[in-house]
């Protein structure tokens, strides 16, 4: 949504260019279109400007300008988010942090790193890897997503079962507040002074300000890792195995479930060695001390067999382990083999409710005349049903969205949550009353007012909304300007 007339826009462009330099401001609609969506392409919203600051001072100046002009602004990382969280829902300025991507400091003695928000998640582990360290939160998009984006969404990943999500690894942040002031929340020490503002900031989906420096913990790589694949003829058996493993007092580093449809898609695409006729597979990883690892692995194998696994095998080499993980991590891409489009759902349930909820998910999607693939973090009850559909078929997308809402209601009914790691953003704002009362939301709103009293910082997110200028629905093909100029070609 453009909110400015042309002359005002030219004027503001000049001012923004004076802050960040002329090559760091976009205002041409063809260029802005690149930033109209995130990883959830169902929603689109056009900014007036996209700017690329390289310092906290830049960000602060941009934010102050936005405040002066009463213009909304929103921070953006790699745009891999899955809830529309970084969309300029009410127009204004998108502040891309992709040029602030440095590792500023690594302190191995204290096992912390200070990074800029645009740093790609995996690049931090690359940086500290040679010294035997890594950054634990590992979202599936970690090759592209940024630490700043992870902060906004409190991102998880497979290994968060044992190691916790982003918030458990953030000690402090330098933040440009919604009024432009630069403030440190928390710091390098493990305890902060006063309220846990860093803890409150993480997961606030960009509505409390913009992090410009982040202090994270880095962990020592485990001495040993063991990866087990358990294959089941019935998905209920796989769910039972998850409970059985926990009942034996074991907390694996990761415990991922992959269903039949997903196994077949993955095998078609990558040939990772999952049996195509299985109803479900569990990918279980143990890590820690080398001594005692075999004993624990035996417990895992026994629990899976008792639950009815027809086959349990352990990766014998690092290459085998990588191949198994490739199957898990590339599952989303593999759906492209079996469907022109899919929508990723994200919900959380108590682990003991897995069999019931998975059955309900299948029923709901079948009733909508659609197919679903499940690949998810079974160990912490974080479901990712992926509803397959064809956006060219009239009405399918509407049915997907309706089925998604039904699934969220089921998660809420069994005492779960409507998001485990993708955030509320635009997508689920109207689902918040499924799990929160008016009083709960009112308190959250007061907290937001303490950080963001004008509401200009990432408006239209998290809270159920009355109005929005966001386009929702299938994208009709529109040739991009560079296609029209013959500079690019669509395949």
């Amino acid at each position: 949504m453009a909110t400015l007339n042309d002359s005002r826009k030219r004027e503001l462009r000049r001012e923004l260019a004076a802050i960040v330099g002329p090559t760091a401001v976009l205002s041409d609609p063809d260029e802005l279109m690149v930033y109209e969506s995130d990883g959830l392409t169902l929603f689109r919203a056009l900014a007036d400007f996209v700017v690329f600051p390289t310092s906290a001072q830049h960000v602060s100046a941009i934010v102050k300008l936005a405040n002066r002009e009463n213009l909304p602004f929103v921070a953006r990382g790699a745009g891999t988010g899955l809830s529309g969280g970084c969309l300029p829902a009410q127009g204004g300025i998108v502040i891309s942090l992709m040029r602030m991507n440095r590792v500023l400091e690594v302190d191995y003695d204290n096992q912390i790193a200070v990074v800029e928000p645009g740093l790609v998640n995996l690049h931090l582990s690359w940086k500290v890897g040679p010294r035997g360290y890594y950054y634990a939160p590992d979202p599936s998009s970690q090759q592209a997503c940024t630490i700043g984006g992870n902060i906004a969404n409190n991102s998880g990943g497979p290994h968060t079962l044992k190691y916790g999500v982003t918030t458990n690894h953030v000690l402090g942040l330098e933040v440009v507040m919604p009024d432009g002031e630069i403030v440190w929340l928390g710091g390098k020490t493990r305890e902060a002074c006063g309220y846990d503002l860093a803890g409150v900031f993480v997961g606030s989906e960009g509505t409390f300000g913009i992090a410009t420096r982040i202090v994270v913990r880095i962990l020592k790589k485990p001495q040993a890792v063991k990866t087990v694949l358990a294959v089941f003829d019935a998905i209920d058996q796989a769910s039972a195995a998850v409970s059985a493993i926990i009942a034996r007092g074991l907390v694996p580093a990761a415990m991922e479930m992959i269903d039949r449809l997903t196994i077949q898609a993955v095998e078609d695409a990558f040939n990772c060695g999952y049996p195509r006729d299985a109803d479900a597979a569990l990918l279980i990883e143990l890590d820690g001390l080398a001594v005692g690892m075999d004993v624990q692995a035996e417990h895992i194998v026994a629990a899976c067999r008792e639950a009815g696994a027809r086959e349990v095998r352990t990766a014998r080499t690092e290459a085998e382990r990588q191949l198994l993980w490739k199957g898990r991590k590339s599952a989303f891409g593999a759906y492209g083999r079996v469907s022109p489009a899919y929508m990723v759902m994200d919900g959380v349930i108590p682990r003991t409710k897995l069999p019931y909820v998975l059955r309900r998910v299948n029923e709901i999607v079948a009733a909508a005349g659609l197919r679903v693939g499940n690949v998810f973090h079974a160990g912490d009850g974080n479901l990712h049903p992926n509803i397959l559909y064809d956006p060219r078929k009239p009405g399918e997308e509407t049915r997907v969205v309706a089925a998604g809402a039904e699934i969220m209601k089921v998660c809420a009914q069994v005492g779960g949550s409507i998001s485990g790691e993708h955030g509320i953003g635009l997508e689920k704002a109207d689902f918040m009353p499924f799990i929160f009362s008016a009083a709960d939301l009112a308190l959250m709103h007061r907290l937001k007012s303490a950080f963001n009293p004008t509401g200009l910082c990432n408006p239209g997110k998290i809270f159920p909304t009355k109005k929005s200028c966001v386009e929702v629905g299938p994208v009709a093909y529109r040739p991009h300007a560079i296609e029209e100029k013959g500079l690019a070609q669509r395949f």
Binding site: V202, S204, G288, G292, K448
Partner: protein, 445 residues
């Protein structure tokens, strides 16, 4: 307090659950007596009591086991003590989900006993577990040695129910272990010392009980060698669940090294391990190998009863403590901070004891008031020097305990800097009439 208000409180919770007059002696803090102590038995009753207090403009101090009642400044004006001991039920424990929901007034010990009977535990080990309540531990962000591996309340609390200053009942988080829906309200209430709302229920993540657990101690002739050994341990493959560094005085306070240390400048490293038998055995052997080159010697196991003596070791060193301060520093600065701080006090003729959760950079120091009691100004001068020292390294200091005469000369809480203004705005949003523990917390909140 007006009789009309007392009547309404008695109506709300029953006459036997409103204490006044002489019955208030257990709730006197720093010589200040509250107007009444009220003990509701349900969330609804808590809401009713806070509603009445708000209406009458009376301050409310929530009270669990009273183990941290003297932390912070006493309330600026007398008001109600809101005791939570009658909200003490375990509401839900589903072992297969590794979660439990508990009322705020249950003691940590009772909660752990219930969990233990089903093979699980809350991986949080604050001091005074027999009296400290779950709600109080959350509100004060209390923890013990095992935080080295298992973190603090912020890593374990997944859902919280609070009654806010206007008497509404509000939930944050949920009952599942992974949840990003809405703002992270559990984080907001942890360590907020009852200034933003009264925690009435909590849902926490649990862990299975480990097969084995072992605590060992290693002696060092010099504290800084022990500090170097800590750095070697955290950089190694070991996965200890606790790394405690005690100076000679604290070691005797915790009764971990007998009298053998005497008055040397040395220290004791106490390290905990858990897991299956062979993991514990391997780690003990590896610890011997790692600490030897730094002068570590006489490695020996400690009884499990030593665990709860570790965190309070500094204060336990002296029959009478003049003041106790807690520091957050970078882990690599721990031993040096302890040595320098002790030197500063010694230069003023004062004895000290020092104990640290060394792997995470949290240190506690106690100042002895013997042999001769000192003027508050002399005590405050050392405390100010200590605070200055840790601030220089990017850390901060909290005056955990001192008589009011000392607290009036040096702020209890450190200066949170520009973030303090955000804290003030949060307080103003959540408690606009300032009735929840007014004046007790950081930045005058």
């Amino acid at each position: 307090m007006p009789d009309a208000l007392l009547e309404k409180l008695r109506d709300a919770v029953g006459p036997a659950n409103v204490l006044t007059g002489i019955e208030l002696s257990p709730y006197v803090v720093e010589g200040r007596t509250p107007e009444a102590a009220v003990f509701p038995a349900s969330v609804e009753e808590v809401a009713a009591v806070i509603g009445l207090a708000a209406e009458a403009g009376r301050p409310v101090t929530s009270w669990g086991g009273g183990t941290a009642a003297s932390v912070g400044m006493p309330a600026a004006r007398a008001g109600l003590v809101l005791g939570l001991r009658r909200l003490a039920r375990l509401l839900e424990h589903e072992p297969g989900d590794l979660t439990a929901t508990v009322e705020a007034g249950m003691t940590v010990e009772a909660f752990q006993a219930a969990l233990r009977s089903r093979g699980q535990w809350l991986s949080l080990d604050p001091a005074d577990a027999d009296r400290a309540t779950v709600g109080g531990v959350l509100a004060t962000n209390a923890y013990g040695p095992r935080r080295h591996l298992y973190g603090t309340a912020r890593d374990l609390l997944i859902g919280v129910t609070v009654v806010t200053a206007d008497g509404s009942v509000v939930k944050g988080g949920g009952k599942v272990v992974k949840n990003v829906a809405g703002y992270d309200l559990p984080k907001l209430f942890i360590g907020s010392y009852g200034t933003l709302g009264v925690i009435v229920e909590a849902t926490v993540k649990l862990r299975p009980l480990p097969d084995q657990e072992e605590l060992v101690c290693v002696r060092f002739d010099r504290l800084k060698d022990a500090g170097a050994a800590v750095r070697a341990i955290v950089a190694s493959d070991l996965i200890p669940n606790a790394i405690e560094l005690l100076d000679a005085a604290a070691a005797s306070g915790a009764e971990v090294a007998g009298g053998a240390l005497g008055a040397t400048s040395g220290g004791v490293l106490v390290v905990g391990f858990d897991g299956v038998r062979e993991q514990v055995d391997w780690q003990r052997a590896e610890l011997t190998r790692l600490t030897g080159p730094f002068g570590g010697r006489d490695l020996r196991p400690l009884e499990a009863t030593a665990w709860p003596r570790l965190a309070p070791a500094a204060r336990a060193a002296f029959p009478v403590t003049a003041a106790a301060m807690a520091f957050a520093v970078l882990p690599s600065q721990v031993a040096e901070t302890m040595e320098q701080g002790a030197g500063m006090a010694r230069a003023r003729g004062l004895h000290t004891a020092w104990a640290a959760h060394a792997g995470v950079g949290v240190i506690r120091a106690a100042l002895a008031s013997d042999p001769a009691p000192r003027e508050p100004a002399a005590i405050a001068a050392v405390l100010a020097e200590w605070r200055e020292m840790v601030r220089g390294g990017g850390g901060h200091a909290t005056l955990e305990w001192a008589p009011l005469a000392v607290k009036s000369q040096i702020p209890v809480w450190d200066d949170p800097g520009a973030a303090g203004r955000i804290m003030e705005r949060i307080k103003a949003q959540l408690d606009p009439t300032n009735i929840l523990n007014p004046g007790r917390f950081v930045a005058g909140i």
